[in-house]
Assembly symmetry: C2
Homo-oligomer: 220 residues x 2
């Protein structure tokens, strides 16, 4: 098995170097980039759809959409007013990696952007292991997934800079103990910035939008 | 990259051989086994909880629970009346593989079981690539994930023998086009056996229970 391990180590090191390159390139262009991760169907694309038109006056926003198949998400981002959107089809891969982001950056005019939202493949495990070179990692959790997810997917919850708890409009119809959920998050990632909102009703969007705008304006 | 590909091919071949061993061992013991897959939070464990007590008079059922961390699921299976339950912590791996199932089988008295339910790691991508040696693969989809999932995760939808559409009690509160969803499934997996149900309200459970019992009694 040692051969396997050394091959995997080489792949991870190569990925990290490329991620550093992506990071430097984004910095040089003055683009702040976020890596948006979540389970399938937690609401990454919906969050992008709600965010783009509301920040359009403050920021020039581009979107990179990672998916196993289809360009449904990039189409939605374009329809929501993304200044530019690029679809990456991973061809079966369960996560984005730094090479894929590099290829996407090649297709964008970075001088025309302030903020780049990178939508990762829907997966609560694998994307946590691959640095892309973005400035912040954001996890979208849907309350419909259940309140035990931080306990069961600690790697993802541990590694992010902010957490969006989506679909709070479903709270009356679902057994979801917010205190238990947030306690699990706090143990893994103390003091994590958390937003509770609903992309469907737009409830709770303001604090998220404000935070993202401040990050993009000061962090790049 | 050719070294990487050959290493990965060797790993997959080794996995397939072990899966065949597991399959033969289950057949010899007269145990029918299913591989239950889904996104995080779609309701695999809830489905097991609803299924166990309702089939307890017909079948002796064991559960193998794959998770990245914790033994929450095996605890729930045991509480729901599993004749035996084994927790596999994958230690970060995003799927179960045939070695892990082999290790779980070693901990079970197979002569005491008719049906073995293997709950895979919550992931809509990776588990589709790893044969375990079970007789049937079953996908649990939650309507809260959205109606576009077959289009976006075709590999998983293509490879399963049955589909459980869970959380139909949320239909009034979610934008979910069942016709669009089922059309996507039909293209990938024509004639797939589909059950619409709610683990929360128990609506629609009967056809699922009947199908599973018939499979277990005739298929082993």
């Amino acid at each position: 098995m040692s051969e396997r391990i050394s091959v995997i180590e080489n792949i991870m090191n190569a990925n990290d170097h490329l991620a550093d390159d992506n990071h430097a390139r984004l910095d040089q262009a003055g683009v702040f980039a976020v890596n948006l991760m979540a389970s399938p169907g937690a609401g990454k694309t919906s969050l992008i759809e709600q965010t783009l038109p509301r920040l359009a006056e403050k920021l020039r926003i581009g979107v990179v959409d990672g998916d196993i198949a289809t360009s449904l998400d990039a189409d939605r981002a374009a329809a929501a007013g993304a200044r530019a959107s690029v679809q990456i089809n991973t061809g079966g891969e369960c996560h984005l990696d730094a090479v894929m982001l590099q290829q996407a950056l090649n297709q964008l005019d970075l001088t025309d952007l302030d903020l780049l939202i990178v939508e990762n493949v829907g997966n609560l495990v694998c994307p946590a292991s691959f640095k892309l070179g973005t400035h912040k990692s954001i996890l979208v959790a849907s309350i419909a997934e259940g309140d035990d997810k931080p306990y069961k997917y600690p790697g993802m919850y541990r590694g992010v800079d902010a957490l969006v708890i989506n679909k709070i409009d479903l709270l009356p119809y679902i057994e979801f103990d917010m205190e238990y959920f947030r306690k699990g998050v706090e143990v893994l990632n103390p003091g994590l910035v958390i937003f509770e909102l609903s992309c469907r009703t737009a409830e709770g969007l303001e604090p998220w939008l404000e935070w993202l705008a401040v990050q993009a304006q000061s962090g790049k």
